[in-house]
């Protein structure tokens, strides 16, 4: 009997915490972890809307499309972490640091 707004507010706060981490932390791996937090927040949002489908659309049957979308999102996030960490390993081998402030070779 929870109103859907509770889930959406939790998802928004989790997203904001993840965004704060991406903007603040220096270690690139922690930035990747905070991106994963943001993706989880979006997944919660998707599944919440999917689970309240008959409430929000009276007269329609239950629809699991939101859960399926979240499933694809989890798969894509896992692939992104793998590629992101591979890139970070390559950067570490070359510059001996993963400090996001020091990897500024493309800056003006």
């Amino acid at each position: 009997m929870i109103n859907i707004a509770y889930w959406l507010i939790f998802s928004s706060l989790l997203f904001a915490i993840g965004a704060y981490g991406v903007l603040t932390r220096k270690n690139a791996i922690v930035v990747l972890m905070c991106i994963e937090i943001m993706l989880n927040a979006a997944n919660i949002n998707l599944v919440a809307f999917s689970s309240y489908y008959t409430t929000l659309h009276p007269g329609l049957a239950a629809d699991a499309s939101g859960q399926v979308f979240a499933l694809f999102s989890i798969a894509i996030a896992a692939a992104e972490v793998a590629v992101g960490l591979a890139i970070l390993l390559e950067v570490y081998r070359r510059y001996q640091t993963i400090d996001v402030d020091k990897i500024n070779i493309l800056r003006w």
């Binding site: 409430t55 399926v68 979240a70």
Partner: protein, 168 residues
């Protein structure tokens, strides 16, 4: 205060607290443990939302694979024992910007009159039917195949990028 609301508040508090610990922890391994806790809290919320298949996939993929890969990444990019300072110059403006973002989201959510109701009781058959279709609909099978190709390309690229350099 029903049991459902109590469980939701407990899970939400632990999810938000562990996410905050990811951002603020001094040691990076503490961040990883907090991240795993956040993922498990989110998986429990999926169970509350009657998405049990998704909860199992979340634990398998996120806690079981992503956290382990991140730990390996930390191991391979260590710079001495102490990883010293943790964040850049004072992030007051960034914190205020993120706070403004959160307030906009929460305000927009609370300004809508959401209808009350029960959570749908979706089963694994519903998820399978949505994915692969039945006589009435075609399902999302093509997207599953494309996700498979995406994972193949991503993992091949990851292996190639992380390869040691050959001699000559």
């Amino acid at each position: 205060m029903t049991w459902e609301l109590f469980v939701f508040l407990f899970l939400a508090a632990s999810g938000l607290a562990s996410a905050l610990m990811v951002v603020r922890a001094r040691e990076i391994v503490h961040s990883v443990i907090a991240l795993a806790t956040c993922f498990i809290a989110v998986a429990c919320m999926f169970v509350m939302l009657s998405a049990e298949f998704l909860a199992i996939v979340q634990i398998l993929v996120y806690v079981g694979a992503v956290v382990v890969v991140i730990l390996f990444g930390i191991m391979l990019t260590r710079r001495g024992i102490m990883e010293g300072e943790k964040r850049t110059r004072s992030g007051v403006i960034r914190a205020l910007a993120v706070l403004a973002l959160a307030l906009i989201f929460v305000g927009a959510t609370m300004s809508i009159d959401w209808p009350e109701g029960e959570i749908d009781d979706t089963t694994n058959e519903d998820v399978g039917r949505t994915l692969f279709g039945d006589e009435d609909s075609s399902g999302y099978g093509l997207i599953v195949l494309l996700i498979g190709i995406l994972l193949l390309v991503a993992l091949l690229g990851g292996v190639f990028l992380a390869k040691e350099e050959e001699e000559g």
